[in-house]
């Protein structure tokens, strides 16, 4: 049992850092059982000896591993499982639409089949999937296009949607149903797929052409054990949160036993397409460096360094080699383990320009505001986009926004909407660097109440978005952001920026309330004053009262403009384009 326990740890470690080639689906045990040549010699008297134990040691597949550790991927309870399934499918749809350059239209349906059984369907207007790829994408864990590249996208590992299908299969025995079409002149393909958990391979139960009204797009249906929740972590909340950060998305939602709801888009502009980048040397761990050396097509160390990493010029590559006491022309295949160590250390000691940051596409202040206003009723909105920054060689960017006042509850902690690459993070709030950063800001400086070591108490919703080619999550279920100091610093700066503008609004509001109160005092007494003056002078009381009212309005003029306030930064910091010399990735 000892060895099977070891494997999951290695698998996770591999996901947490960028990797290059498709080598992961099945992991072979490091030391596979082998038969001892001196089989005849007697063995010590263990309860079970190594030979006996060897008979039980065998390869396990990722699918099998998942079926036993479903919580790692967000399927720990029926409510969460349903939400995770919807979330994975919607993430995939949005990524596909955006990559194809289509304004996303997503339809989410949840139908109750039995007491604890639901059928969820997610349909998009994306580019569709070619017939040959459909079984692999949905029927094989860790198959996808996103893991092997450093590009900002919602999904990362290619584990989500197939895991959702597997969960359905495990709890109901029903296959996943997929229909996809790649163009109006092409047929729509309908599949029913099972996952062979032992081999991590798709098992196609049905493959046929079917008529479908959509010109292009994909629809996935999964039946699963679940529980439909309307409070707390509900599908509806998730969709709304998604729409705030993705105002270009239109969603139709059909909840079980309730009328359908349509959320129209607040913006017609697709986000710009993120650029793919090579890893930055500072972000690479020793193990990954070893692996990259093994897999590179370059012949020389110098060539390897310049072609596999960003920001490494021939001069920088020579500098690294010199520091590592290695000839730049040394053959990659002949680099020893010790020499890799030296190269690794040399990289850390060499000053290398920060990675390009145009690979990150922010939501943008205006779109974030549009999203907020579209879904949240409040008195005041603001948003800010920071300039990109770098943690461990990975470029990232923080955006923050907030909605304040209106119908939001005044005596409760502020609601935090956390996002990573435009995807809402719904669980593990307290383990997340975003929450931690919110707590570390002293909100009392910005006219909000804040109990010690807590989120402030105010009628507000805070939005924090981290965009990065590689968001450092604390676990595979992608629920919380890891606390890198560079990231937390940026989050706090963004929040403080919003805080300053909010403070301006609160002050203005308080002044306004004061003015209204003042005015009401004057108006209260003006009737009797006008009557008394009328009796003394004969001037018309009603005319006097009108005059008094007019003066009252003039003297308390501030109370006039009670419109919705929006504060924009005077100059929106535009994301720098590529050739930023500043910031040295460390």
């Amino acid at each position: 049992m000892k060895k099977t326990k070891k494997k999951p740890r290695r698998m996770i470690a591999a996901h947490a850092v960028p990797a290059r080639k498709e080598t992961l689906p099945v992991l072979k045990p490091v030391d596979a059982p082998e038969t001892d040549s001196s089989a005849e010699a007697p063995l010590p008297k263990f309860r079970r000896n190594a030979v006996e134990m060897a008979t039980k040691q065998r390869e396990i597949s990722v699918s099998e591993f998942f079926s036993k550790n479903r919580h790692l991927l967000g399927f720990s309870n029926p409510t969460k499982a349903m939400l995770t399934a919807v979330k994975e499918a919607v993430d995939n749809s949005l990524d596909a639409c955006e990559e194809a350059g289509v304004l996303p239209e997503v339809k989410v349906e949840v139908k109750q089949v039995a007491e604890d059984r639901f059928r969820i369907a997610v349909e998009d207007n994306g580019p569709g999937i070619v017939r040959a790829q459909i079984p692999k994408i949905f029927g094989k864990l860790l198959y996808g296009s996103k893991f092997h590249r450093l590009k900002m996208s919602r999904g990362q590992q290619g584990i989500g949607i197939s895991a959702a299908g597997l969960y359905g299969q495990l709890t109901t025995g029903k296959p996943m149903q997929i229909i996809s079409r790649i163009g109006p002149k092409r047929p729509a393909h309908y599949f029913e797929i099972h996952i062979d958990t032992a081999k991590n391979n798709p098992e196609v139960l049905k493959d046929e052409e079917r008529p479908w009204e959509k010109e292009h797009g994909t629809r996935v249906e999964i039946e699963m054990e679940g529980r439909y929740s309307k409070a707390g972590h509900s599908i509806e909340d998730y969709l709304k949160q998604t729409l705030i950060a993705n105002p270009h998305v239109r969603v139709e939602y059909q909840p079980p036993g309730e009328p359908a709801a349509t959320y129209e888009r607040a913006s017609d502009a697709l986000p710009a397409e993120p650029r793919e980048i090579k890893p930055h040397p500072y972000g690479v761990e020793l193990g990954i460096l070893v692996k990259m050396l093994k897999e590179t097509k370059s012949h020389w160390v110098k060539g390897f360094l310049t072609s596999e990493f960003c920001r490494v010029s021939p001069r920088i590559a020579e500098e690294i080699c010199q520091r590592a006491l290695i000839k730049p022309e040394m053959r990659v295949r002949r680099v020893s383990r010790e020499e890799v160590d030296r190269i690794f250390r040399a990289i850390q000691e060499t000053k290398i320009m920060a990675p390009p940051t145009d690979c990150i596409v922010p939501i943008g202040e205006e779109k974030l505001l549009a999203g907020l206003k579209n879904l949240i009723q409040a008195d005041f909105y603001t948003a800010t986009t920071r300039t990109p920054s770098v943690y461990r060689g990975n470029p990232f960017l923080i955006e923050a926004g907030l909605a304040y006042g209106g119908a939001l509850p005044a005596d409760e902690p502020v609601q935090l909407f956390r996002y990573a690459n435009r995807v809402p993070l719904l669980y593990q709030k307290s383990a997340c660097a975003i929450t931690e950063s919110v707590i570390e800001v002293d909100w009392r400086n910005y006219a909000l109440q804040q109990p010690k070591k807590s989120v402030p108490i105010a009628p507000a919703i805070f939005i924090i978005h981290i965009a990065s080619v590689w968001v450092p999550f604390t676990s595979e279920s992608k629920e919380a952001v890891a606390a890198y100091p560079e990231i937390m610093k940026e989050i706090k700066l963004a929040l403080m920026d919003c805080g300053r503008r909010l403070q301006g609004h609160i002050r203005h509001q308080r002044r306004q309330e004061n003015e209204l109160e003042r005015r009401s005092i004057f108006e209260k007494y003006s009737g009797i004053l006008a009557q008394s003056l009328h009796e003394l002078t004969g001037t018309s009381a009603s005319k006097l009262q009108e005059d008094l009212k007019r003066i009252a309005k003039k003297t308390t003029g501030l109370a006039e403009d009670a419109a919705v306030q929006v504060a924009l930064a005077p100059v929106a910091p535009a994301p720098s384009n590529g050739n930023d010399g500043g910031g040295n990735g460390k």
């Binding site: 005092i521 007494y525 009797i528 004053l529 008394s532 009796e535 003394l536 002078t537 003066i551 003297t555």
Partner: protein, 365 residues
């Protein structure tokens, strides 16, 4: 009240309101100037020997959160006073409180919650339009009795103050010449007694008959009517006035109010003050002449001591003999009540104490 005075007062009330209306019509913040009735704004006029009001004024604005209500109240009271004068009725200040009390614009708030509030506004109106309370047809509660060798006409009725029995004539709060006129007077002086009990003693002993005087009491701090009446006795009948009070700081102060006027009503000093009034007793030195007083003294309390020290500082108590008197009280640490004189015998005060003081001219001025 003469219609001439009434007309002038109404003119001044309307004038103040007219200014406010003009300002409002110009779209500006209306205000009314109200002379300050504080210690800082009273002047000690050494020549005339009275307290006079200074020139400091407070502008009361309507469009000022802390002044708005008072501003409204000021004109509410002003318009009610106009009604009273026009209808030739006079009202007590309590009646005026009820006349002007009403709820404000559908709220639970009233124009006045307590009479204290309206009393203060009445004083504001008095000083703002430079009219006496009596000229506004307002009167304070009756609080005082008079007997003596004089005949008085009160609203046409002839009052013989020699035949007032044990109760005396109740002094009205408005004693202006239009209402009260003096007729036959054989009195040689006026004696104002602080306490009703002592006034009754002296009346019972027919002190006023034997010594040909007018005997008054104001039950403590004499009300405006009595002070105005004393002022008229002095100015019209040229009678000397003696003040007979407890030997404590409050007694001294009552004497000083009668003589020079009060800080609060400094604006009325000229018509109310009696600079000629003399202090007849009780003095802190009386115990030297009458050792029996040692048995009936009362220890000074904390607040007596601090009040005495305050009085020591007043400019109108700076005369040598007064400083000596007050310091002696502080030195001995005791005070006496008027009634304490009964210790010797019940009529000691009327038969021995007062006659001796008057004969010896043993007064403080």
């Amino acid at each position: 009240m003469s219609s001439k005075t009434s007309k002038a007062v109404i003119q001044r009330l309307r004038g103040a309101a007219g200014e406010v209306v003009k300002t409002i019509q110009k779209g500006k913040n209306p205000s009314i100037g109200i002379p300050l009735r504080t210690l800082a704004n009273v002047k000690w006029n050494e020549k005339r020997f009275i307290i006079e009001m200074g020139n400091a004024k407070q502008e009361r604005f309507f469009f000022n959160v802390s002044m708005a209500k008072k501003f409204m109240q000021t004109f509410l009271v002003a318009s009610s006073c106009q009604d009273l004068i026009e209808s030739q009725k006079s009202a007590s200040i309590r009646e005026l409180f009820y006349m002007t009390k009403r709820s404000v614009a559908d709220t639970k708030e009233n124009t006045f919650e307590e009479q204290d509030e309206s009393d203060e506004i009445i004083e504001d109106v008095e000083v703002a339009v430079n009219a006496l309370r009596e000229e506004l047809n307002l009167k304070a509660a009756k609080k005082g009795s008079l007997v003596g060798d004089i005949t008085i006409v009160d609203k046409g009725d002839t009052i013989d103050a020699r035949r007032m029995g044990s109760g005396g004539w109740a002094i009205p709060s408005i004693v202006e010449p239009e209402i009260i006129q003096f007729r036959k007077c054989d009195a040689k002086f006026v004696l104002l007694v602080e306490k009703d009990a002592l006034w009754e003693r002296l009346n019972e002993d027919k002190f006023w008959q034997k010594h040909k005087c007018i005997l008054l009491t104001g039950n403590g701090q004499p009300p405006r009517g009595i002070r105005r009446l004393l002022n008229r006795f002095v100015t019209e009948l040229k009678l000397p006035v003696y003040v007979f009070v407890d030997n404590d700081p409050w007694g001294y102060y009552i004497y000083s109010v009668v003589k020079q006027g009060s800080i609060n009503l400094a604006y009325e000093s000229i018509r109310m003050a009696v600079p000629q009034a003399k202090f007849i007793g009780l003095s802190s030195y009386d115990r030297e002449s009458y050792p029996f007083l040692d048995e009936v003294d009362i220890k000074l309390e904390e607040q007596d001591i601090s009040r005495a020290k305050q009085i020591l500082e007043y400019p109108w108590f700076q005369k040598k003999e007064w400083q000596r008197e007050i310091r002696n009280m502080l030195k001995t640490g005791v005070k006496f009540e008027l009634e304490a004189l009964a210790k010797k015998r019940i009529s000691f005060v009327s038969e021995e104490y007062l006659p001796k003081k008057i004969k010896d001219k043993d007064f403080l001025d």
